[in-house]
């Protein structure tokens, strides 16, 4: 009976807390972009960045239990506008899947954009692979119109992919801040 009461309480909590979370809608700053820069190499803008991931206990536990996690890094090119939101010129999303492989006791990092797969003995190494972005080609210089090039700016952020969580976990994730992991937008000059 007490179990049932607990479950009912939880059900109520499930109903109320999404409202609290949605009302806040801010991500905890567990992911930090230590450095990020755009480099123009052979008329292509490339991104170099160093990102540090600090997972919460819940997320770590989920990873240890074989739940695949997706880390998404978003890059947007924007053109500022007056009075309304800035116009999005181009955007790119770099997605990595991190999963623990129990048989080999290794972490698999899979680049979901390219399909490339890497294995690491430690989580730190795996995260380092994800966090070190070197020469990631973003956009051809030509695609940004020449005339007011200096008006453009880019921004980057990274966060835990919420959509790819297993369905049962999603509800838990909704009500717990330990699943809302991500960084602030970092603005980059062209």
């Amino acid at each position: 009976m007490t179990g049932l009461v607990r479950v009912l309480c939880k059900v109520c909590l499930l109903w109320v807390s999404p409202l609290l979370v949605f009302s806040g809608n801010t991500m905890a700053d567990e992911f930090v972009i230590n450095s990020a820069e755009l480099v123009l190499t052979e008329k292509v803008y490339q991104l170099n960045a160093r990102i540090e991931f600090d997972f919460s206990k819940d997320v770590l536990a989920a990873i240890e239990n074989g739940v695949p996690m997706v880390i998404e890094t978003e890059i947007e090119f924007l053109k500022p506008r007056n009075y309304i939101w800035d116009e999005e010129v181009a955007s790119l999303e770099q997605r990595y899947q991190l999963q623990y492989h129990a048989l080999t006791e290794q972490y698999i990092v899979r680049n979901l954009n390219s399909g490339a797969q890497y294995t690491y003995f430690s989580l730190t190494a795996a995260l380092q692979k994800i966090g070190n972005i070197d020469h990631l080609p973003l956009i051809d210089e030509k695609l940004l119109s020449d005339r007011d090039k200096e008006n453009y700016y880019a921004r980057v952020r990274t966060h835990l992919g919420f959509e790819n969580l297993p369905v049962p976990l999603k509800l838990n994730a909704l009500i717990s801040r330990s699943w809302w992991l991500g960084s602030e937008w970092i603005e980059l000059d062209l």
Binding site: L4, V67, A102, P166, V167, P168
Partner: protein, 739 residues
């Protein structure tokens, strides 16, 4: 906000939008339950589905809230049907909530226990063991390959750089490796040979592997490969004799036999899934519980809304009936009730409508007959009102039912007020009615079919003689239903008869007596003249006295006859408009210097209108009245006579009233009825015709006269004469002679 509420009200009143919403919610709930089971296609929709259902719930709560508030408000206002609706809603809700709650309670229990039962400790152990078994079975192969790779490394130890590439290729083929790479201990690739011709860059070992090789000289282990499958990675240090300072590493990748690989892969995936499931046990329970709760809430709220809806639908005809009944109770039979359903309630409403329709028709009929009765009653009243006889009807209990206006006039009582009063109680309306009531009671109690009797009503102004006739009224069943009494004021008739008799007497007297008087007188004078001188003085004296007496008495008889002929004479009136006060003054002047020392007082109102009269006759009337008063006050030393002239109203007629009041002994009670008849007098002198003549003069002028005794003593004669037509428009009004 009010628009939202009214829209909600509209939606909550109609069936189809809510039915559609309910179906939509059921669909989304079924999708949600599929999504909860972690299916790929709906997994992404899960959150959206939860939100949609939650919104649906909010809308349902809104609908129910609107209905509930409306019900509460109607309940408090005592709106017709609200109590029944509330009771039905309560019953429906209880009927819906109770079983659903029980099912929910047990479902939750089954859900919890069901999910827990998936996770058996033995299954978990078996999974661990399977993983361990896979590892150990692969361990042998790894060790073999390590040894083989070491041999390769040895063979490459002293190989020159130029031939390394060829050697590597050979070694790879020999050792069935997938890829062979020679690199420096820093990780720089020196040479590589691979089975994959598309690969440009050979795979590099992890830094962890490199450092392990640097320390322990070798590494061998499993690694996941591609999307599925495994491969064995081996890294061995090459101890070069040529360049001892520069250590090189041989890094080899070996495929695992497909059969073993797929087995190991299935163990890994099963283990991974199981582990994930264990980890997700609580969230899964929450998720299922949430879905179940959503299903419960949606069904429950839909059921509650349906309870409101169906209760209102059920009660609608009852409410209509109640409204109709209230309308009928308030006397409104024209209220039309719409028939909303074709079930028993609908036919009840229809029957009610027909009933009110018939009642309405019956009421109209009743009203019509009532109006007819009223018309006939008014007609009867008009007829009765125009009758010169008084009519009174009484019921079986001797209660007065109808009395016409003539009855009021005759009885001098407002008989309209007496309707509904018992006959016995009528005495309270006037003491003078006592004899009348007694006669009626006596005759009615004797239950005579037809009777008639003369009644004399005694009143201050003189008696009134009524001729009463009565009959029993019968109802349709020939039972006694009441009585009717008709009566006439015959006073005047009786008086007229008496007067006529007196007139006849007078005429006879004048005719029969007057003729022999003159011969008697002449004969007596002749006797005297012829024999007086011839007789002896004694005889002469007798003769003289006798003839004198004869002559004198004849003279007196002549006077009397003259008076009678005066009374009997009906002279032609010389009517003219005259001022009565001037006439009174003129006549009174003749008496002012009277030797009896009577004090005369004259009181004349201002604005007394003229009367239409014969001046000579009125003068005679005044003489008679004043003479009468003087004679009645002769014995008093403080004799006082007051004459007043004033305006008067009687029975709506405008009159001039002349009152002659004295302070004499008054009129004896036994004479007050016959005062104005000839030979009615208390005096020793006079013929007793004075007041009879007064009455005749008054009647000639269409006036009325009566006498009454004053409270303070003395008599009062009241003469009322109609006002001249030149002064007022009441000349044609008929007069009621009161004396």
């Amino acid at each position: 906000m009010s628009r939202v509420i009214s829209a909600l009200k509209r939606v909550s009143d109609s069936f189809f939008p809510v039915l559609a919403m309910g179906l939509f919610l059921v669909l989304s709930l079924s999708l949600l339950s599929t999504a909860t089971e972690n299916s790929i296609q709906f997994g992404r929709m899960h959150l959206a589905l939860v939100v949609i259902n939650a919104l649906g719930l909010i809308v349902l709560v809104g609908l129910i809230g609107v209905n509930f508030i409306r019900l509460i408000r109607n309940y408090n206002r005592n709106v017709v049907g609200s109590r029944l609706t509330a009771r039905l809603v309560f019953i429906f809700v209880i009927l819906a909530v109770a079983p659903v709650s029980v099912v929910y309670y047990f479902s939750l229990g089954f859900l919890q226990r069901g999910i827990d039962s998936w996770f058996d400790v033995r299954v978990e152990q078996a999974m661990e063991n399977a993983l361990e078994l896979s590892r150990s079975s692969l361990d042998m192969r790894i060790r073999e390959l390590l040894k083989q790779t070491r041999d390769m490394a040895d063979s490459l130890a002293d190989a020159p750089e130029a031939t390394v590439m060829l050697n590597l290729s050979d070694l790879r083929h020999e050792g069935n490796a997938y890829e062979l790479t020679l690199m420096t201990d820093g990780g720089r690739i020196i040479a590589s040979s691979t089975d994959d011709t598309t690969a440009i860059i050979p795979s590099k070992p992890d830094e962890v592997i490199l450092s392990q090789v640097r320390q322990n000289k070798s590494y061998a282990g499993l690694a996941p490969s591609g999307d599925f499958g495994l491969q064995i990675r081996v890294a061995v240090a090459i101890d070069s004799l040529v360049v001892p300072t520069q250590q090189r590493i041989l890094y080899a990748l070996y495929p695992i036999a497909d059969r073993i690989s797929s087995l190991a892969d299935s163990v890994q995936s099963a283990y991974g899934q199981h582990k994930e499931l264990i980890y997700l046990r609580e969230p899964l329970k929450n998720s299922f519980t949430l879905t179940l709760s959503l299903v419960l809430l949606v069904s429950l709220l839909t059921a509650i809304w349906a309870a409101f809806f169906s209760a209102q639908r059920l009660v609608a005809p009852v409410r209509l009936l109640a409204v109709g009944t209230r309308a009928v109770a308030a006397g409104n039979y024209d209220k039309k009730l719409p028939v909303t359903s074709n079930d028993e309630l609908g036919s009840l409403v229809q029957s009610f409508s027909e009933m009110t329709n018939k009642i309405s028709l019956a009421r109209d009929e009743a009203n019509k007959s009532k109006e007819q009765v009223e018309r006939e009653r008014a007609y009867l009243k008009a007829v009765l009102g125009r009758l010169s006889s008084g009519v009174i009807t009484l019921d079986d209990e001797l209660t007065i039912r109808v009395a016409n206006s003539t009855a009021s006039q005759i009885l001098e009582v407002d008989m309209d007020r007496a309707v509904g009063v018992r006959l016995k109680a009528l005495q309270g309306y006037g003491v003078h009615l006592r004899d009348f009531i007694d006669v009626l009671k006596r005759n009615l109690i004797m239950n005579q079919q037809d009777w008639s009797e003369e009644v004399t009503i005694s009143r201050k102004q003189g008696n009134k003689i009524l001729m009463c006739r009565g009959a029993i009224l019968h109802s349709d069943e020939n039972e006694r239903a009441g009585y009717v009494v008709v009566f006439d004021d015959v006073t005047r008739l009786v008086h007229a008869q008496r007067e006529a008799a007196w007139g006849e007497v007078a005429r006879r007297l004048a005719h029969e007596i007057k003729n022999p008087l003159t011969p008697i007188q002449l004969s007596a004078e002749r006797l005297r003249r012829k024999y007086l001188s011839t007789m002896s003085p004694e005889d002469a004296e007798v003769l003289d006295r006798s003839t004198h007496t004869i002559v004198q008495q004849v003279e007196s008889m002549k006077e009397m006859v003259k008076a009678f002929s005066e009374y009997a004479r009906v002279p032609k009136l010389q009517l003219q408009s005259l001022k009565i006060e001037a006439l009174v003054n003129e006549v009174l002047d003749l008496y002012r210097d009277d030797e009896f020392g009577i004090k005369f007082t004259l009181a004349i109102d201002e604005n007394v209108p003229d009367v239409e009269a014969d001046a000579g006759r009125i003068r005679q009337l005044l003489h008679n009245l004043i003479k009468n008063s003087i004679e009645s006050t002769r014995k008093r030393t403080d004799a006082k006579i007051t004459i007043s002239v004033s305006n008067a109203q009687h029975l709506g007629q405008h009159l001039v009233e002349l009152r002659v009041v004295d302070n004499g002994p008054g009129i004896p009670d036994n004479m007050i009825d016959t005062l104005f008849e000839p030979y009615t007098t208390t005096k020793t002198k006079g013929g007793g015709l004075g007041l009879a003549v007064v009455k005749r003069i008054v009647e000639e002028h269409s006036g009325s006269v009566f006498a009454e005794n004053q409270h303070e003593g003395g008599a009062c004669v009241v003469v009322r004469l109609p006002v001249s037509t030149h002064d007022s428009g009441n000349s044609d009004a008929s007069l009621l002679v009161q004396a």
